[in-house]
Symmetry: C2
Subunit: 198 residues, 2 copies
């Protein structure tokens, strides 16, 4: 008899304290990005994953769901920070399209521009706004791979009604990437060509 396991995804325990002391509305984009960059740094400090974090906010700047990279701790290559945040937001809101058919606006804030997988996931999530800190090339500069992405991925999202802002606190986001490497963080990789996913 062949039985398939359940997959359980949960945030690291250290996130509880963050959520209990979180600020109220983060009305400025810099504040939202700083919150996310702090999560990325805490994910390194607690050794729960790569130097990547993301979060979904509603239009007022209220946190709906955070996400951190859980690839190593969950042994799951799908659990990038953006995917984790999107899955949680959909669970919390009770719908796979968080926009509810385009009626409600949500923003995905990510410390580093999305990889090829997360770029694709954004299509189906219902967010209408993507805000990025570090760029693809910043992740590549420390040895992570972003995958084969359209060179004009920003335009492709724009064409689908998703606005994209880049370089928000880029230097602070880069600093976390460098900190990961300086602390000997694993550039985990997958596959026959030793690609490093973020």
């Amino acid at each position: 008899m062949m039985k398939m396991p359940e997959i359980i995804m949960r945030l690291p325990d250290w996130m509880t304290a963050i959520l209990n002391t979180r600020p109220g509305l983060l009305t400025s984009v810099n504040d939202r990005m700083r919150f996310v960059i702090d999560l990325a740094r805490l994910n390194i400090d607690h050794k729960t994953g790569g130097p990547f974090a993301a979060a979904i906010f509603d239009e007022a700047g209220s946190l709906i769901a955070p996400g951190v990279n859980l690839v190593l701790s969950a042994n799951c290559s799908v659990f990038h920070a953006e995917i984790v945040a999107l899955m949680l937001a959909q669970k919390i809101l009770g719908r796979y399209d968080i926009s509810d058919g385009g009626k409600i606006n949500y923003e995905l804030v990510t410390a580093v521009a999305p990889c090829a997988m997360c770029f694709g996931a954004i299509h189906w999530s219902g967010i209408d706004r993507l805000t990025c800190g570090a760029r693809d090339e910043d992740a590549r500069a420390i040895g992570f791979d972003e995958g084969s992405k359209l060179s004009d991925w920003v335009a492709a999202l724009n064409d689908r009604g998703i606005r994209v802002a880049r370089d928000v606190l880029r230097d602070e986001a880069i600093a976390v990437l460098k900190e990961y490497v300086a602390k000997g963080g694993i550039l985990y990789n997958a596959g026959h060509r030793k690609n490093n996913s973020k």
Copy 2:
């Protein structure tokens, strides 16, 4: 106090019977594809999701993990068939890179060519072989969207050491897509532009 839920992913109950009566090795690619197309049809019949299925096989043709589209039933836009199969295979094998650093070969068989998200996920999964039934345009022909993909996505995977075979039992895979529409299946969509994800 803000508390984040757990996300639990499990296959539909009807899959148990399939797994208990599954054949041994599926040494021919047509047999592996037929198994996957049958799963896609059963996913329609049981109303557990879209007309999409996938599975991971080892090099001998032994089933490691099946997947079906669970977007509607799980309220999660990430749970495409390919993602479900990859997550299960990684859980079962106990590693996020199922190739274990390129030492072991695994094939992802999917009834329909991967969307933009699943294309990206393939990079990080550790599979070295992708086998597709229906093409992107076949999914689009019934109203599903594949997302913004590189036009040369097959070459992009080849460049990373991942072989791609297409059009395996394409007509049978298309027949399942048409059956879904004929039975009034939901072309679920996400976002402000009403994109339909597969």
